[in-house]
Amino acid sequence: MRISRQTLHVLRLFLEAPKTWRYGYYVSQDTGLKSGTLYPILMRLADRKLLEATWESSTPGTPPRHLYRLTPAGLSFAREHVVKSGSSSMRRPALSGAKS
């Protein structure tokens, strides 16, 4: 299967800390991908059971957010394709001004 350069960036980011759950916006910032590019990738990965998503347990006063990480199948898929691609990672912020 052929995967895009942007998908590789996402997979590479998730591989950096495979057990860490990540927010979509921070994935967008870390990969430099805009929402219109990032979310279709996340959706496709989730549809193929390569990515798992969960709603974080909400704390009072803040709405819950979606979190993502690779499944075991996704990890082996990502390792295989990232190693195969062997290209350097792209890092630039997609959007400025994240709330801390």
């Binding site: 979509g24 916006y25 979310y39 279709p40 998503a53 979606h66 001004g97 709330k99």
Partner: protein, 174 residues
């Protein structure tokens, strides 16, 4: 403080999420939640536009996939979803630009420069319904041509339709 741009972004994405099919509503909700973490209003608006386009495409892809689950081709599904989503986005963009151009003539100019009577001047009307939108369409289509060919093609198609409509109207009404 919530600005007009932020309200527009939240309203746009919120409406799309509310009216999206159940399969994509969870994803839409996730994008909406993330938007609340973006401090810059323009960035939030861009996020909302990107998310809206994604929800359209995903909904169409899912509907297509559900309908043709037996003998579907993944590549063609994506292509069709992308094309229809891109065209829908282009049409929405063109309607928005046209509405803003016309409103700027009928409302803003009357409010800012009442003595100019721009809304009654024929050349100003032509500029607002044809000149300004067509210029914006061509510039945006040229900018998007390499990266978003479908959206760009949709905008150009709208530009041609608008020009044709204008010519037909002028020839009929003199």
């Amino acid at each position: 403080m919530t600005t007009g741009l932020r309200k527009l972004a939240v309203a746009l994405l919120g409406t799309v999420v509310r009216h999206s099919p159940p399969s994509s509503r969870s994803w839409g909700g996730a994008m909406l939640r993330e938007m609340e973490c973006i401090t810059t209003d323009w960035a939030a608006l861009r996020w909302a536009f990107g998310s809206t386009s994604t929800i359209f495409r995903y909904s169409i892809e899912r509907a297509w996939r559900d309908e043709r689950s037996d003998n579907s081709n993944d590549g063609s599904m994506k292509a069709v979803g992308k094309a229809v989503g891109g065209l829908a986005l282009a049409v929405a963009f063109c309607i928005g630009v046209l509405a803003v151009c016309i409103l700027s003539l009928t409302r803003v100019s009357t409010f800012l420069f009442p003595e100019w009577h721009l809304a009654q001047m024929r050349w100003a009307q032509c500029m607002s319904v044809l000149g300004m939108p067509e210029t914006i369409f061509v510039i945006v289509a040229a900018m998007l041509w390499r990266k978003r060919k479908t959206v760009s093609a949709g905008i150009l198609a709208c530009a041609v339709m608008l020009a044709t409509h204008f010519l037909v109207y002028v020839s009929d009404h003199g």
